[in-house]
Protein backbone atom coordinates (compact mmCIF):
# COMPACT_ATOMS: atom_id res chain seq x y z
CA UNK A 1 0.00 0.00 0.00
CA UNK A 2 1.42 3.37 -1.03
CA UNK A 3 1.68 6.00 1.69
CA UNK A 4 -0.23 9.12 0.71
CA UNK A 5 -0.20 11.19 3.89
CA UNK A 6 2.61 13.44 5.00
CA UNK A 7 3.70 14.19 8.56
CA UNK A 8 6.49 16.01 10.36
CA UNK A 9 8.91 13.11 9.77
CA UNK A 10 7.50 12.26 6.34
CA UNK A 11 7.43 15.57 4.44
CA UNK A 12 5.11 15.91 1.45
CA UNK A 13 6.45 14.17 -1.61
CA UNK A 14 5.70 13.99 -5.31
CA UNK A 15 6.51 10.68 -7.02
CA UNK A 16 7.98 10.50 -10.51
CA UNK A 17 5.84 10.28 -13.62
CA UNK A 18 3.46 7.41 -14.18
CA UNK A 19 4.87 4.34 -15.88
CA UNK A 20 3.44 0.97 -16.82
CA UNK A 21 5.08 -2.32 -15.93
CA UNK A 22 3.99 -5.91 -16.40
CA UNK A 23 3.89 -8.20 -13.39
CA UNK A 24 3.35 -11.88 -14.18
CA UNK A 25 1.53 -10.95 -17.40
CA UNK A 26 -0.64 -8.27 -15.79
CA UNK A 27 -0.15 -4.58 -16.64
CA UNK A 28 0.00 -2.26 -13.64
CA UNK A 29 0.72 1.42 -13.07
CA UNK A 30 3.75 2.52 -11.10
CA UNK A 31 5.84 5.64 -10.61
CA UNK A 32 9.34 6.56 -11.67
CA UNK A 33 11.62 6.33 -8.65
CA UNK A 34 9.92 3.26 -7.25
CA UNK A 35 11.89 0.10 -6.70
CA UNK A 36 10.59 -3.14 -8.16
CA UNK A 37 10.01 -4.34 -4.58
CA UNK A 38 7.88 -1.25 -3.92
CA UNK A 39 5.72 -1.84 -6.99
CA UNK A 40 5.21 -5.48 -5.98
CA UNK A 41 4.30 -4.54 -2.38
CA UNK A 42 1.94 -1.82 -3.61
CA UNK A 43 0.20 -4.50 -5.70
CA UNK A 44 -0.17 -6.66 -2.60
CA UNK A 45 2.44 -9.18 -3.76
CA UNK A 46 4.67 -10.38 -0.94
CA UNK A 47 5.91 -13.68 -2.36
CA UNK A 48 8.61 -12.79 -4.89
CA UNK A 49 10.32 -16.11 -5.37
CA UNK A 50 10.71 -19.74 -4.36
CA UNK A 51 13.80 -21.39 -2.92
CA UNK A 52 15.44 -23.64 -5.48
CA UNK A 53 15.95 -26.58 -3.13
CA UNK A 54 12.82 -26.56 -0.97
CA UNK A 55 10.30 -24.46 -2.90
CA UNK A 56 9.68 -22.33 0.18
CA UNK A 57 8.39 -18.83 -0.55
CA UNK A 58 10.68 -15.82 -0.23
CA UNK A 59 10.14 -12.08 -0.36
CA UNK A 60 11.74 -8.84 0.65
CA UNK A 61 13.70 -9.12 3.90
CA UNK A 62 16.71 -6.80 4.35
CA UNK A 63 15.69 -4.16 1.81
CA UNK A 64 19.30 -3.11 1.28
CA UNK A 65 20.77 -5.61 -1.14
CA UNK A 66 22.40 -7.86 1.44
CA UNK A 67 20.21 -10.95 1.75
CA UNK A 68 19.16 -11.84 -1.84
CA UNK A 69 15.72 -12.98 -0.65
CA UNK A 70 13.83 -10.70 -3.07
CA UNK A 71 15.11 -12.17 -6.34
CA UNK A 72 12.78 -11.84 -9.34
CA UNK A 73 13.06 -12.13 -13.11
CA UNK A 74 13.26 -8.81 -14.96
CA UNK A 75 12.98 -8.59 -18.75
CA UNK A 76 13.90 -12.26 -18.90
CA UNK A 77 17.00 -12.02 -16.69
CA UNK A 78 16.68 -14.19 -13.62
CA UNK A 79 17.92 -13.52 -10.07
CA UNK A 80 17.64 -9.74 -9.97
CA UNK A 81 17.29 -8.10 -6.55
CA UNK A 82 13.89 -6.36 -6.49
CA UNK A 83 15.03 -4.09 -3.63
CA UNK A 84 17.98 -2.72 -5.64
CA UNK A 85 16.34 -2.25 -9.02
CA UNK A 86 14.26 0.76 -10.06
CA UNK A 87 11.11 0.12 -12.07
CA UNK A 88 11.14 1.66 -15.55
CA UNK A 89 8.43 2.03 -18.14
CA UNK A 90 7.49 -1.23 -19.93
CA UNK A 91 9.60 -3.36 -17.59
CA UNK A 92 8.51 -6.99 -17.46
CA UNK A 93 8.67 -8.45 -13.96
CA UNK A 94 8.09 -12.10 -13.17
CA UNK A 95 7.72 -13.50 -9.69
CA UNK A 96 7.65 -17.16 -8.77
CA UNK A 97 4.95 -16.64 -6.18
CA UNK A 98 2.22 -18.36 -8.16
CA UNK A 99 4.31 -21.33 -9.23
CA UNK A 100 3.80 -24.41 -7.11
CA UNK A 101 7.09 -25.99 -6.00
Amino acid sequence: MRITKSTSDLPALRRGKTIEVTIDGRKVQAFEGELVSTVLLAEGISIFGRKHTTGRPSGIYCGMGVCYECLVTINGTTNIRACQTFAVDRMVIETAGQVKP
Binding site: T7, L10, L13, G33, L41, K51, G59, Y61, C67, Y68
Partner: protein, 474 residues
Protein backbone atom coordinates in the same frame (compact mmCIF):
# COMPACT_ATOMS: atom_id res chain seq x y z
CA UNK B 1 44.65 0.71 -15.56
CA UNK B 2 43.48 3.72 -13.52
CA UNK B 3 45.97 4.82 -10.92
CA UNK B 4 44.89 6.82 -7.92
CA UNK B 5 46.36 7.74 -4.56
CA UNK B 6 43.35 6.85 -2.41
CA UNK B 7 40.19 4.83 -2.90
CA UNK B 8 37.37 5.20 -0.40
CA UNK B 9 34.87 2.32 -0.40
CA UNK B 10 31.41 3.36 0.79
CA UNK B 11 29.78 6.80 0.51
CA UNK B 12 28.06 7.04 3.87
CA UNK B 13 29.04 9.68 6.45
CA UNK B 14 32.41 8.03 7.22
CA UNK B 15 33.40 7.51 3.59
CA UNK B 16 32.36 10.93 2.30
CA UNK B 17 34.06 12.72 5.18
CA UNK B 18 37.35 10.85 4.81
CA UNK B 19 37.33 11.40 1.03
CA UNK B 20 36.67 15.13 1.52
CA UNK B 21 39.39 15.64 4.11
CA UNK B 22 41.97 13.78 2.04
CA UNK B 23 40.94 15.59 -1.13
CA UNK B 24 41.19 19.00 0.58
CA UNK B 25 44.75 18.12 1.52
CA UNK B 26 45.51 17.52 -2.14
CA UNK B 27 45.11 13.74 -2.31
CA UNK B 28 43.67 12.33 -5.52
CA UNK B 29 40.59 10.37 -4.41
CA UNK B 30 38.11 7.96 -5.93
CA UNK B 31 34.92 7.32 -3.92
CA UNK B 32 32.97 4.16 -4.71
CA UNK B 33 29.48 3.21 -3.57
CA UNK B 34 26.95 0.54 -4.48
CA UNK B 35 23.94 2.89 -4.28
CA UNK B 36 22.71 5.16 -7.07
CA UNK B 37 23.37 8.23 -4.88
CA UNK B 38 25.89 8.89 -2.11
CA UNK B 39 24.70 9.11 1.51
CA UNK B 40 24.78 5.54 2.77
CA UNK B 41 21.93 4.36 4.95
CA UNK B 42 22.06 7.33 7.34
CA UNK B 43 21.89 10.07 4.70
CA UNK B 44 19.93 7.95 2.24
CA UNK B 45 18.52 10.20 -0.47
CA UNK B 46 15.17 9.99 -2.21
CA UNK B 47 15.33 8.49 -5.70
CA UNK B 48 15.92 11.16 -8.36
CA UNK B 49 12.34 11.25 -9.75
CA UNK B 50 10.84 11.79 -6.25
CA UNK B 51 10.56 15.44 -5.23
CA UNK B 52 10.12 16.58 -1.66
CA UNK B 53 10.51 19.77 0.28
CA UNK B 54 12.33 18.31 3.27
CA UNK B 55 13.53 21.10 5.57
CA UNK B 56 14.60 18.95 8.49
CA UNK B 57 17.96 19.48 10.19
CA UNK B 58 18.90 15.99 9.06
CA UNK B 59 18.31 16.78 5.39
CA UNK B 60 20.08 20.10 5.79
CA UNK B 61 23.15 18.33 7.14
CA UNK B 62 23.03 15.79 4.31
CA UNK B 63 22.75 18.51 1.66
CA UNK B 64 25.73 20.40 3.05
CA UNK B 65 27.79 17.21 2.92
CA UNK B 66 26.72 16.55 -0.70
CA UNK B 67 27.48 20.14 -1.69
CA UNK B 68 31.00 19.79 -0.34
CA UNK B 69 31.33 16.51 -2.22
CA UNK B 70 29.98 18.05 -5.43
CA UNK B 71 32.42 20.97 -5.35
CA UNK B 72 35.41 18.74 -4.61
CA UNK B 73 37.66 17.09 -7.18
CA UNK B 74 36.76 13.59 -5.91
CA UNK B 75 35.77 11.13 -8.64
CA UNK B 76 32.60 9.36 -7.51
CA UNK B 77 31.41 6.04 -8.93
CA UNK B 78 27.86 5.25 -7.84
CA UNK B 79 26.10 1.94 -8.52
CA UNK B 80 29.51 0.35 -8.30
CA UNK B 81 30.62 -2.70 -6.36
CA UNK B 82 34.16 -3.41 -5.19
CA UNK B 83 34.07 -7.16 -5.72
CA UNK B 84 37.66 -7.89 -4.83
CA UNK B 85 40.89 -6.33 -3.66
CA UNK B 86 44.15 -7.82 -4.92
CA UNK B 87 47.82 -6.97 -4.75
CA UNK B 88 48.59 -3.99 -6.98
CA UNK B 89 51.04 -3.75 -9.82
CA UNK B 90 53.54 -1.72 -7.76
CA UNK B 91 54.88 -2.89 -4.42
CA UNK B 92 52.73 -1.67 -1.55
CA UNK B 93 49.78 -0.82 -3.79
CA UNK B 94 46.37 -2.42 -4.05
CA UNK B 95 44.23 -3.33 -7.04
CA UNK B 96 40.47 -2.97 -6.61
CA UNK B 97 38.20 -4.90 -8.98
CA UNK B 98 35.08 -2.91 -9.76
CA UNK B 99 31.73 -3.67 -11.30
CA UNK B 100 29.45 -0.83 -12.26
CA UNK B 101 28.30 1.32 -15.18
CA UNK B 102 30.91 3.90 -16.06
CA UNK B 103 33.46 2.58 -13.60
CA UNK B 104 36.83 1.23 -14.74
CA UNK B 105 37.19 -2.52 -14.25
CA UNK B 106 40.19 -2.03 -12.03
CA UNK B 107 41.80 0.75 -10.04
CA UNK B 108 45.28 0.70 -8.63
CA UNK B 109 45.58 2.57 -5.36
CA UNK B 110 48.25 3.31 -2.76
CA UNK B 111 45.81 3.48 0.16
CA UNK B 112 42.22 2.44 0.82
CA UNK B 113 39.66 3.67 3.33
CA UNK B 114 37.00 1.03 4.02
CA UNK B 115 33.71 2.64 5.05
CA UNK B 116 31.27 -0.10 4.17
CA UNK B 117 28.78 0.43 7.00
CA UNK B 118 26.60 -2.19 8.62
CA UNK B 119 23.43 -4.19 8.15
CA UNK B 120 20.69 -5.55 10.39
CA UNK B 121 21.54 -8.41 12.73
CA UNK B 122 19.20 -11.36 12.22
CA UNK B 123 17.93 -13.64 14.95
CA UNK B 124 16.17 -16.76 13.73
CA UNK B 125 12.79 -17.76 15.14
CA UNK B 126 10.18 -20.12 13.75
CA UNK B 127 8.67 -18.40 10.71
CA UNK B 128 11.34 -15.68 10.41
CA UNK B 129 11.89 -16.62 6.77
CA UNK B 130 8.24 -16.14 5.78
CA UNK B 131 7.51 -13.31 3.36
CA UNK B 132 6.16 -10.47 5.50
CA UNK B 133 8.99 -10.63 8.03
CA UNK B 134 11.39 -7.77 7.28
CA UNK B 135 14.26 -5.98 8.99
CA UNK B 136 13.97 -2.57 10.63
CA UNK B 137 16.34 -1.23 7.97
CA UNK B 138 13.99 -2.44 5.24
CA UNK B 139 10.99 -0.88 7.01
CA UNK B 140 12.75 2.49 7.30
CA UNK B 141 13.71 2.52 3.61
CA UNK B 142 10.21 1.52 2.53
CA UNK B 143 8.51 4.20 4.60
CA UNK B 144 10.97 7.10 4.31
CA UNK B 145 12.43 6.69 0.83
CA UNK B 146 9.86 4.67 -1.07
CA UNK B 147 6.65 5.69 0.73
CA UNK B 148 5.18 2.23 0.77
CA UNK B 149 3.91 0.28 3.76
CA UNK B 150 5.26 -3.21 4.39
CA UNK B 151 1.86 -4.18 5.79
CA UNK B 152 -1.32 -2.87 7.36
CA UNK B 153 -1.05 -4.56 10.75
CA UNK B 154 2.50 -4.64 12.01
CA UNK B 155 4.32 -5.91 15.07
CA UNK B 156 7.92 -4.92 15.77
CA UNK B 157 10.54 -6.83 17.71
CA UNK B 158 14.13 -5.96 18.43
CA UNK B 159 16.22 -3.55 20.40
CA UNK B 160 17.53 -0.01 20.31
CA UNK B 161 16.77 3.35 18.74
CA UNK B 162 16.37 2.04 15.20
CA UNK B 163 13.42 -0.10 16.25
CA UNK B 164 11.95 2.87 18.02
CA UNK B 165 12.28 5.08 14.94
CA UNK B 166 10.79 2.39 12.67
CA UNK B 167 7.77 2.01 14.96
CA UNK B 168 7.11 5.76 15.06
CA UNK B 169 7.44 6.17 11.29
CA UNK B 170 5.17 3.20 10.59
CA UNK B 171 2.53 4.72 12.86
CA UNK B 172 2.87 8.12 11.17
CA UNK B 173 2.57 6.47 7.77
CA UNK B 174 -0.76 4.96 8.76
CA UNK B 175 0.10 1.38 9.68
CA UNK B 176 -1.65 -0.17 12.63
CA UNK B 177 1.18 -1.08 15.00
CA UNK B 178 -0.24 -3.74 17.30
CA UNK B 179 2.84 -3.87 19.48
CA UNK B 180 6.52 -3.11 19.86
CA UNK B 181 8.68 -5.65 21.68
CA UNK B 182 11.94 -4.22 23.02
CA UNK B 183 14.07 -7.11 24.20
CA UNK B 184 15.93 -5.02 26.80
CA UNK B 185 14.22 -4.66 30.18
CA UNK B 186 14.70 -2.24 33.05
CA UNK B 187 16.15 0.37 30.73
CA UNK B 188 15.73 3.20 33.19
CA UNK B 189 17.53 1.50 36.06
CA UNK B 190 20.28 0.10 33.83
CA UNK B 191 20.57 3.40 31.97
CA UNK B 192 21.19 5.65 35.00
CA UNK B 193 24.94 4.95 35.30
CA UNK B 194 25.29 6.11 31.71
CA UNK B 195 23.66 9.50 32.16
CA UNK B 196 26.98 11.38 31.81
CA UNK B 197 27.38 9.88 28.31
CA UNK B 198 24.04 11.36 27.26
CA UNK B 199 25.15 14.85 28.25
CA UNK B 200 25.41 16.93 25.12
CA UNK B 201 23.49 14.50 22.92
CA UNK B 202 20.57 16.93 22.72
CA UNK B 203 19.88 16.47 19.04
CA UNK B 204 19.45 12.76 19.56
CA UNK B 205 17.25 13.25 22.61
CA UNK B 206 15.01 15.67 20.76
CA UNK B 207 14.60 13.17 17.93
CA UNK B 208 13.81 10.43 20.46
CA UNK B 209 11.25 12.59 22.23
CA UNK B 210 9.46 13.21 18.93
CA UNK B 211 9.13 9.48 18.37
CA UNK B 212 7.91 8.92 21.96
CA UNK B 213 5.19 11.51 21.35
CA UNK B 214 4.05 9.73 18.17
CA UNK B 215 3.93 6.34 19.85
CA UNK B 216 2.21 7.68 22.99
CA UNK B 217 -0.45 9.65 21.11
CA UNK B 218 -1.36 6.53 19.13
CA UNK B 219 -1.34 4.38 22.29
CA UNK B 220 1.07 1.89 20.77
CA UNK B 221 1.81 -0.87 23.31
CA UNK B 222 5.58 -0.78 23.91
CA UNK B 223 6.71 -3.83 25.90
CA UNK B 224 10.14 -3.90 27.51
CA UNK B 225 11.77 -7.28 28.02
CA UNK B 226 9.57 -8.85 25.33
CA UNK B 227 10.20 -10.33 21.89
CA UNK B 228 8.35 -11.87 18.97
CA UNK B 229 9.07 -15.57 19.40
CA UNK B 230 7.45 -16.97 16.27
CA UNK B 231 5.63 -15.95 13.12
CA UNK B 232 2.97 -18.13 11.54
CA UNK B 233 1.18 -18.42 8.22
CA UNK B 234 1.21 -20.66 5.19
CA UNK B 235 2.99 -18.81 2.43
CA UNK B 236 3.29 -15.48 4.20
CA UNK B 237 2.93 -14.05 7.69
CA UNK B 238 -0.57 -14.01 9.11
CA UNK B 239 0.16 -14.02 12.82
CA UNK B 240 2.94 -13.42 15.32
CA UNK B 241 3.46 -14.67 18.87
CA UNK B 242 5.13 -12.46 21.47
CA UNK B 243 6.38 -13.46 24.89
CA UNK B 244 7.99 -11.92 27.93
CA UNK B 245 11.64 -12.85 28.33
CA UNK B 246 13.30 -14.06 31.49
CA UNK B 247 16.57 -12.62 32.71
CA UNK B 248 18.55 -14.66 30.18
CA UNK B 249 16.33 -13.76 27.29
CA UNK B 250 14.42 -17.08 27.25
CA UNK B 251 10.70 -16.61 26.59
CA UNK B 252 8.31 -17.39 29.44
CA UNK B 253 5.67 -19.71 27.88
CA UNK B 254 2.79 -18.53 30.11
CA UNK B 255 3.18 -14.97 28.87
CA UNK B 256 2.64 -15.78 25.19
CA UNK B 257 0.21 -13.65 23.21
CA UNK B 258 -0.64 -14.23 19.54
CA UNK B 259 -1.87 -11.44 17.29
CA UNK B 260 -3.05 -11.42 13.69
CA UNK B 261 -0.58 -9.33 11.65
CA UNK B 262 0.52 -9.13 8.03
CA UNK B 263 4.00 -7.84 8.77
CA UNK B 264 6.70 -8.41 11.39
CA UNK B 265 9.58 -5.94 11.60
CA UNK B 266 12.73 -7.20 13.34
CA UNK B 267 15.69 -5.05 14.32
CA UNK B 268 18.24 -6.51 16.70
CA UNK B 269 20.95 -3.89 16.31
CA UNK B 270 23.53 -4.01 13.53
CA UNK B 271 26.37 -6.15 12.22
CA UNK B 272 29.49 -4.37 10.88
CA UNK B 273 30.06 -5.11 7.17
CA UNK B 274 33.61 -6.42 7.54
CA UNK B 275 33.75 -8.44 4.31
CA UNK B 276 36.58 -6.43 2.76
CA UNK B 277 38.55 -6.48 6.04
CA UNK B 278 38.18 -10.26 6.15
CA UNK B 279 39.04 -10.61 2.46
CA UNK B 280 42.26 -8.70 3.12
CA UNK B 281 42.89 -10.79 6.22
CA UNK B 282 43.09 -7.75 8.51
CA UNK B 283 43.38 -8.73 12.19
CA UNK B 284 39.97 -8.70 13.82
CA UNK B 285 39.11 -8.29 17.49
CA UNK B 286 35.93 -9.48 19.15
CA UNK B 287 33.89 -6.68 20.73
CA UNK B 288 30.30 -7.75 21.37
CA UNK B 289 29.18 -4.21 22.32
CA UNK B 290 30.37 -2.91 18.93
CA UNK B 291 28.73 -5.63 16.82
CA UNK B 292 31.09 -8.64 17.13
CA UNK B 293 34.31 -9.08 15.17
CA UNK B 294 35.73 -5.73 14.07
CA UNK B 295 39.08 -4.74 12.55
CA UNK B 296 41.88 -3.93 14.99
CA UNK B 297 42.98 -0.37 14.30
CA UNK B 298 45.60 2.04 15.54
CA UNK B 299 44.94 5.66 16.55
CA UNK B 300 45.04 6.67 12.88
CA UNK B 301 42.21 4.23 11.98
CA UNK B 302 44.68 2.06 10.07
CA UNK B 303 44.08 -1.69 10.18
CA UNK B 304 46.80 -4.32 10.54
CA UNK B 305 47.16 -4.17 6.72
CA UNK B 306 49.48 -1.35 5.76
CA UNK B 307 47.62 1.42 3.93
CA UNK B 308 44.16 0.01 4.66
CA UNK B 309 42.01 2.19 6.93
CA UNK B 310 38.58 1.27 8.33
CA UNK B 311 36.07 3.84 9.57
CA UNK B 312 32.46 4.13 10.64
CA UNK B 313 30.09 1.29 11.44
CA UNK B 314 32.10 -1.29 9.46
CA UNK B 315 34.82 -0.90 12.08
CA UNK B 316 32.43 -1.20 15.04
CA UNK B 317 28.88 0.07 15.46
CA UNK B 318 29.03 3.68 16.63
CA UNK B 319 26.55 5.70 14.59
CA UNK B 320 26.84 8.59 12.16
CA UNK B 321 28.51 11.18 14.40
CA UNK B 322 31.31 8.78 15.24
CA UNK B 323 31.58 7.83 11.58
CA UNK B 324 32.13 11.47 10.58
CA UNK B 325 34.88 11.92 13.17
CA UNK B 326 36.63 8.67 12.26
CA UNK B 327 36.38 9.66 8.61
CA UNK B 328 38.15 12.94 9.29
CA UNK B 329 40.93 11.20 11.24
CA UNK B 330 41.47 8.53 8.55
CA UNK B 331 41.36 11.08 5.71
CA UNK B 332 43.97 13.19 7.48
CA UNK B 333 46.19 10.18 8.22
CA UNK B 334 45.97 9.01 4.63
CA UNK B 335 47.00 12.49 3.48
CA UNK B 336 50.07 12.29 5.73
CA UNK B 337 50.89 8.83 4.45
CA UNK B 338 50.64 9.99 0.85
CA UNK B 339 52.88 12.96 1.50
CA UNK B 340 50.31 15.76 1.28
CA UNK B 341 50.33 16.80 4.93
CA UNK B 342 52.99 16.99 7.59
CA UNK B 343 52.49 15.06 10.77
CA UNK B 344 52.48 18.31 12.69
CA UNK B 345 49.63 19.93 10.71
CA UNK B 346 47.72 16.66 10.82
CA UNK B 347 48.02 16.62 14.59
CA UNK B 348 46.41 20.06 14.79
CA UNK B 349 43.37 18.73 12.92
CA UNK B 350 43.02 15.39 14.64
CA UNK B 351 43.71 16.32 18.28
CA UNK B 352 40.34 18.09 18.43
CA UNK B 353 38.66 15.18 16.67
CA UNK B 354 39.99 12.69 19.17
CA UNK B 355 38.29 14.51 22.07
CA UNK B 356 34.97 14.39 20.19
CA UNK B 357 35.63 10.75 19.35
CA UNK B 358 35.94 9.83 23.03
CA UNK B 359 32.53 11.39 23.72
CA UNK B 360 31.00 9.39 20.88
CA UNK B 361 32.67 6.23 22.12
CA UNK B 362 31.01 6.70 25.51
CA UNK B 363 27.66 7.07 23.80
CA UNK B 364 28.27 4.02 21.60
CA UNK B 365 29.11 2.02 24.71
CA UNK B 366 25.82 3.10 26.27
CA UNK B 367 23.84 1.97 23.24
CA UNK B 368 25.84 -1.25 22.90
CA UNK B 369 25.41 -2.17 26.56
CA UNK B 370 21.75 -1.22 26.85
CA UNK B 371 20.56 -2.57 23.54
CA UNK B 372 22.23 -5.89 22.85
CA UNK B 373 19.96 -8.84 22.16
CA UNK B 374 20.11 -11.26 25.14
CA UNK B 375 21.76 -14.62 24.38
CA UNK B 376 18.56 -16.54 25.19
CA UNK B 377 16.95 -15.14 22.06
CA UNK B 378 19.25 -17.29 19.99
CA UNK B 379 17.44 -20.36 21.34
CA UNK B 380 14.14 -19.46 19.65
CA UNK B 381 14.87 -21.48 16.51
CA UNK B 382 13.37 -24.97 16.37
CA UNK B 383 15.01 -27.97 14.71
CA UNK B 384 13.36 -27.33 11.34
CA UNK B 385 13.81 -23.53 11.41
CA UNK B 386 15.86 -22.27 8.46
CA UNK B 387 19.13 -20.75 9.60
CA UNK B 388 20.86 -20.25 6.25
CA UNK B 389 18.10 -19.02 4.00
CA UNK B 390 20.13 -19.01 0.78
CA UNK B 391 21.13 -22.66 0.98
CA UNK B 392 18.06 -23.69 3.02
CA UNK B 393 20.00 -25.18 5.94
CA UNK B 394 18.02 -25.89 9.09
CA UNK B 395 19.07 -25.89 12.75
CA UNK B 396 18.97 -29.69 12.63
CA UNK B 397 21.64 -29.77 9.92
CA UNK B 398 23.82 -27.33 11.83
CA UNK B 399 23.53 -29.56 14.91
CA UNK B 400 24.58 -32.50 12.76
CA UNK B 401 27.64 -30.54 11.66
CA UNK B 402 28.44 -29.84 15.30
CA UNK B 403 28.07 -33.53 16.15
CA UNK B 404 30.53 -34.31 13.35
CA UNK B 405 33.01 -32.14 15.22
CA UNK B 406 32.64 -28.67 13.68
CA UNK B 407 34.57 -26.23 15.86
CA UNK B 408 34.34 -23.02 13.85
CA UNK B 409 31.68 -21.46 11.65
CA UNK B 410 34.01 -22.25 8.77
CA UNK B 411 33.76 -25.95 9.65
CA UNK B 412 29.96 -25.72 9.65
CA UNK B 413 30.12 -24.07 6.22
CA UNK B 414 32.32 -26.84 4.87
CA UNK B 415 29.98 -29.52 6.18
CA UNK B 416 26.48 -28.17 5.49
CA UNK B 417 26.91 -25.16 3.15
CA UNK B 418 25.76 -22.39 5.55
CA UNK B 419 27.00 -19.13 4.10
CA UNK B 420 27.77 -20.51 0.64
CA UNK B 421 24.75 -19.01 -1.08
CA UNK B 422 23.97 -15.64 -2.64
CA UNK B 423 24.35 -13.56 0.52
CA UNK B 424 27.67 -15.26 1.33
CA UNK B 425 26.86 -15.65 5.00
CA UNK B 426 26.02 -12.03 5.73
CA UNK B 427 22.60 -13.00 7.05
CA UNK B 428 23.38 -16.26 8.85
CA UNK B 429 26.96 -15.59 9.96
CA UNK B 430 26.21 -14.27 13.43
CA UNK B 431 23.45 -16.84 13.98
CA UNK B 432 25.62 -19.81 13.07
CA UNK B 433 28.26 -18.45 15.45
CA UNK B 434 25.74 -18.09 18.30
CA UNK B 435 24.33 -21.57 17.75
CA UNK B 436 27.73 -23.20 17.49
CA UNK B 437 29.03 -21.38 20.58
CA UNK B 438 25.96 -22.28 22.65
CA UNK B 439 25.82 -25.92 21.60
CA UNK B 440 29.52 -26.69 21.70
CA UNK B 441 30.27 -24.74 24.87
CA UNK B 442 32.80 -22.57 23.08
CA UNK B 443 33.03 -18.78 23.06
CA UNK B 444 31.95 -16.59 20.16
CA UNK B 445 35.56 -15.54 19.86
CA UNK B 446 36.62 -19.19 19.42
CA UNK B 447 34.08 -20.10 16.75
CA UNK B 448 35.32 -17.23 14.53
CA UNK B 449 33.62 -16.04 11.33
CA UNK B 450 33.14 -17.00 7.69
CA UNK B 451 36.15 -16.42 5.46
CA UNK B 452 35.50 -14.21 2.47
CA UNK B 453 36.56 -14.85 -1.11
CA UNK B 454 36.02 -12.68 -4.19
CA UNK B 455 33.62 -11.92 -5.75
CA UNK B 456 31.94 -10.28 -2.76
CA UNK B 457 28.53 -10.42 -4.41
CA UNK B 458 27.23 -12.65 -7.23
CA UNK B 459 28.38 -11.24 -10.57
CA UNK B 460 27.74 -12.03 -14.22
CA UNK B 461 30.37 -14.62 -15.12
CA UNK B 462 31.80 -12.55 -17.99
CA UNK B 463 32.91 -9.86 -15.50
CA UNK B 464 35.13 -12.27 -13.61
CA UNK B 465 36.31 -13.86 -16.85
CA UNK B 466 37.30 -10.46 -18.24
CA UNK B 467 39.22 -9.71 -15.06
CA UNK B 468 41.10 -13.00 -15.19
CA UNK B 469 42.06 -12.42 -18.82
CA UNK B 470 43.49 -8.99 -18.14
CA UNK B 471 45.25 -9.94 -14.94
CA UNK B 472 46.99 -12.86 -16.62
CA UNK B 473 47.99 -10.93 -19.72
CA UNK B 474 51.62 -9.84 -19.33
Amino acid sequence: MDEVELVVVGAGPAGIESALIASQAGVEVILIDTSPKPGGQYFKQLPEPFKSDDRSDHQDKAQRLFQRLGSSSIRVFNDTLVWGIFEGTKPGSWCLALYGPGAPQRVNSRAIVLATGAFDCSIPFPGWDLPGVITAGAALTMVKNQRVLPGKRVVLSGTGPLLFASAALLVQAGAEVVGVCESSANLLRRGLPYLPAVWGQWGRMREGMGYIKTLASHRVPYRFGWAVTSAGGGNRVSEATMAKLDRNGIPIPQSQVTRAVDSVVVGYSLVPATELCRLLDCDLVFEPGRGGFIPRRDEEMETSCSGIYAVGDCAGIGGAEMALIEGRIAGTSAAVRLGHLTKRSAYEVTSRERIALRREQRFAKLLGDLFSPPAGLFTLAETDTMICRCEQVTLRQIREAISYGAQTVGDVKNLVRTGMGNCQGRTCGSMVAQILAAESGRTLEDVRYFNIRPPLHPLPLEVVEEHQKEVHTP
